[in-house]
Symmetry: D2
Subunit: 344 residues, 4 copies
Amino acid sequence: MIRFNNDYHHGAHPQILEALTNTNTENYCGYGLDPWCEKAVAEIKKYLDCPNAAVHFFVGATQANFTIISAALRPYQSVISAQSGHINVHETGAVEHCGHKIHALPSPDGKLNAAQIAAEAELYRTSGVQEHITKPKLVYLSYPTEYGTLYSKQELEDISTVCKEYDLYLFVDGARLGYGLGSPQCDLTLSDLARLTDAFYCGGTKCGALFGEAAVLTNPALQTDFRSYMKQNGAILAKGWLLGLQFYTLFKDGLYFDITRQADLYALQIKQAFTEKDIPAFIESFTNQQFVVLENQQAEKLAQHYIFEFDHQIDDTHSCVRFCTSWSTKQQEIDALLADIRAL
Amino acid sequence: MIRFNNDYHHGAHPQILEALTNTNTENYCGYGLDPWCEKAVAEIKKYLDCPNAAVHFFVGATQANFTIISAALRPYQSVISAQSGHINVHETGAVEHCGHKIHALPSPDGKLNAAQIAAEAELYRTSGVQEHITKPKLVYLSYPTEYGTLYSKQELEDISTVCKEYDLYLFVDGARLGYGLGSPQCDLTLSDLARLTDAFYCGGTKCGALFGEAAVLTNPALQTDFRSYMKQNGAILAKGWLLGLQFYTLFKDGLYFDITRQADLYALQIKQAFTEKDIPAFIESFTNQQFVVLENQQAEKLAQHYIFEFDHQIDDTHSCVRFCTSWSTKQQEIDALLADIRAL
Amino acid sequence: MIRFNNDYHHGAHPQILEALTNTNTENYCGYGLDPWCEKAVAEIKKYLDCPNAAVHFFVGATQANFTIISAALRPYQSVISAQSGHINVHETGAVEHCGHKIHALPSPDGKLNAAQIAAEAELYRTSGVQEHITKPKLVYLSYPTEYGTLYSKQELEDISTVCKEYDLYLFVDGARLGYGLGSPQCDLTLSDLARLTDAFYCGGTKCGALFGEAAVLTNPALQTDFRSYMKQNGAILAKGWLLGLQFYTLFKDGLYFDITRQADLYALQIKQAFTEKDIPAFIESFTNQQFVVLENQQAEKLAQHYIFEFDHQIDDTHSCVRFCTSWSTKQQEIDALLADIRAL
Amino acid sequence: MIRFNNDYHHGAHPQILEALTNTNTENYCGYGLDPWCEKAVAEIKKYLDCPNAAVHFFVGATQANFTIISAALRPYQSVISAQSGHINVHETGAVEHCGHKIHALPSPDGKLNAAQIAAEAELYRTSGVQEHITKPKLVYLSYPTEYGTLYSKQELEDISTVCKEYDLYLFVDGARLGYGLGSPQCDLTLSDLARLTDAFYCGGTKCGALFGEAAVLTNPALQTDFRSYMKQNGAILAKGWLLGLQFYTLFKDGLYFDITRQADLYALQIKQAFTEKDIPAFIESFTNQQFVVLENQQAEKLAQHYIFEFDHQIDDTHSCVRFCTSWSTKQQEIDALLADIRAL
């Protein structure tokens, strides 16, 4: 069985395991106050064009999401998110657990748009009973979204403008950021993200690391005592250098970008194979996640050799399923799948 | 100006003020451990046919809502509510502040139905990733709803059955309970509510008291150490007898039911007057809240003599507005309004 | 039986009940946005010499304490309090429930001193691992304390200076503020409190009102969207004018100060009677609470006619008990007690 | 410089890194639902004699502490801990952040005793105002304690008895569990721990793993939906097999016990060397942490070649410092230190 079910079913890129092995007899100061974290931060900041950004390393994405969001908000403030946003549907209510309401806006493609955000913020601004409702204060986006879709630079500029107008933080969940930046459709850089957002993170867990997310806080208002929020939420790793070392390895020669770009190319081959068979995309994606609508017998056939993810039932005879490539996907795995798609 | 904007714009029913005055030189034990609270509980329980119910007095409805809900739930459990539910839109995210997600279901008339609830609970039951999503554990209804609509006994029986099937608590917000029970459309009794729900409260603030809500916990699982939850949330009044005395006064001879029934009758006169003028109801209500669709000039005209609540804009020339009667509404106020409606 | 067990065993001062009765047929805007709240704020501010202070009305003291404290703090920040502080021992962990640690400092007389506070704050300032510990950010005092003791103006000046040096908010619980200001030992005014603190409140529940606490936020940093915090915590009373009207009545002609001063004088008579009998004070208090050490048989004798509060066991034959006068205490009650003390 | 400052300054035991390397090209199901986790659980359970125990893997100890504690408690319930307990002083108030008060009891040697616990629980049981105070519901111990001290089996039996009597959960923080079990002073087994506690964890981070703690929930009441609490707190690792694989490696042939026992033996050599020089122990420890009282010049001398931890100032000329051995400590490092101690 070949796994196309997600992008976190393998360990780490060999270079990362090698780095861990090479340094295993070294000893370091704990809690992320070590040279590897310092070097990793320096490498990441080379891409940001934002000298005052603060970079912090988390073990996982749910932890990063709720720690950053709850550090940014006061108790009566709330989050604007797409209904399909990861924080709204896959994190056991972690944001609400931290005390904050999510305004979950409808979004067929997983994206929010500037007009939606403005409308929601305007509801609060023009309310005659502001103290009876929560105050939207942070917009949560994913890049790419849960459906693999991407914001264009213009769309993100527009959203950023609305956020500034309504005094909203803009926070981008980048658990799959590499696969977004590596897409041929992407017209954004890390420097654009740093300029347009208040905080975002570069996902490692799904992009070649054993684990880890590198959070970038560009807005100084979010930086004060941030490590206190992290520790309180169990988000400072004792052996913090494990995170620094991994991100240093991923960013020092662009490995992060190379391996995710390759995964996107693989995904586009899958996309094309389905298109050629007139198997419709559920949603047009140019990143490593491909959602297609399979007939039941097609799905059963492919399931004999591949693990992929059932997303939802379309009707009695069709389902939407996800094929997901990964930094660990190999050409021969793709070749096999393409052949089997063509043979459907 | 005559107020039809809400049902809490006057002090208290004269009998309540009289009771407060008559006892003002008496002295009592604090924190609700006094004879008036005891007597009030006894009066309320006469209606319940539920000898093991626990009755506790709150000062206000928001406090009652979040205290009861958060006492009932574990951190990963969530609430099912109509989108228009008071907890979802008018309480500054108090339920989320206590850590719980609200599954806000669409409901044009403010009511949930058994099928909706079952579907939401079924999503969890059949989920392959239960630990990634919150577990619905409590259904929040209002009787009457925010739109003044009522559940029939059959509807509530059906909902109660679903709740039992899916191990959900059923909690009824009765901030306006009197106006529900007093409606000609009502086929429920307090004893039905006690039988069909796990908790509900009899609103006092909007039904003749200076302030106060009498919470009835019928499910023993919700009763353990309940006063600890109350105190922690600032919900035990130091001079608790003020609440006991008011509810004793309201319930001992049925005053609670008499004054709210009268307010409903007044509201139905308003309803009929609008109907006769072909001014459409936004929603059919048989309780003290009447939502109608006025043309702008009609609204302006009535606004010269009456305070009523703007609910939302329908289109450029029409708005939905609310006229609300109260235990304190007087026949002459109604007469004046009816005349002015007819004169539109 | 005559009650000396606390200062909240009676309803309200007759003038307050009269005011409620006189306005009962009036109607008002809800949620504290009414003329009586406005007028009450104006009366209170006459004493403050602090034109930018914000005044908000709470129903009870626990609610006021946790709402103000949690609105002031970020999640990783903590509170410095005396071990005997009300928030530390009598509020079911409401402050911790809101997420904040209390640094409970030893204090035999219920007071903190500037040196203690500085030492605690210095521990954080000089810590090499700040992110592993909570950051003290607010000092909680009571005036008078739980033992009836008072801070001198100089003591409060010193504490205020330390708070400014360490960037700590200073918050004074004034549930019994009237009895503090009315004491012959008091050298503080409301204007001093406004100048030296960031927030405090004038207790009404224990000082002549049916219920209510008037919170004064002098630090603008604490004022932003404060009503949102209140509503979220169930602390905005629907019929807010009930609070405004009571505080207007208490403050417009100094009633608040007159009735509490009289209660203090009564307490000092009790104090003197015990002294004359060589019955020792457990702690020297010049306010309405008197803690004395009684022999068991003395306690039993007095308990035949008076309700007073057992505080703690001293040894097999002695207890510390509290006699508490109130705005509602009458001269004849005092006379009876004095005679019985003398007869011990 | 040789590190004796803590037990988490090195990566992982070579066998663990080898296991990670050997499996790096394998692929697995995510979120801990993989064969390695299953095998690790089986290995751990071989030691427990508790077939119904549930085992869950956390990344770090703070996360494990607050997740387990907050899953066990209702909002008004509190924790009994030694003042020096890790949750009370080194976790940025994470337990309070989850809403729970800590009753921090004095303990010169880091241990609680049964009498202390009973006294604290008795305060609640006999309180006349239970709803005004928090209810102790969980006792938090560390084995070994922060000072390296150990509970004897009898002491733990006594504590367990008290916990059962007062309906308290007993939870043991085992971040350094290996060093406890490996001590010559230890008369406890994992099976004793499983029998006497409701929950405990076997620390990996400090005992040979790259990271990870294996939590054992023996009380079924703590097991329900436990993974939901974990996910909500960001405590389910996406690549969960990384934890399973490590704990399998540590437990399958007793590696966990071997490497920590050796570290204890090294520590006892250090202990003896100090004793022979008449350098007093601050506290008698028979585990891998040794607290000694050094003269300033002794400390300075040793600091030329060794990193050790300053604990606190004793007086102008003496400090208490900690020397900590680790699974990664080498004989030659010990030899060097012993020589330098003898040369003081």
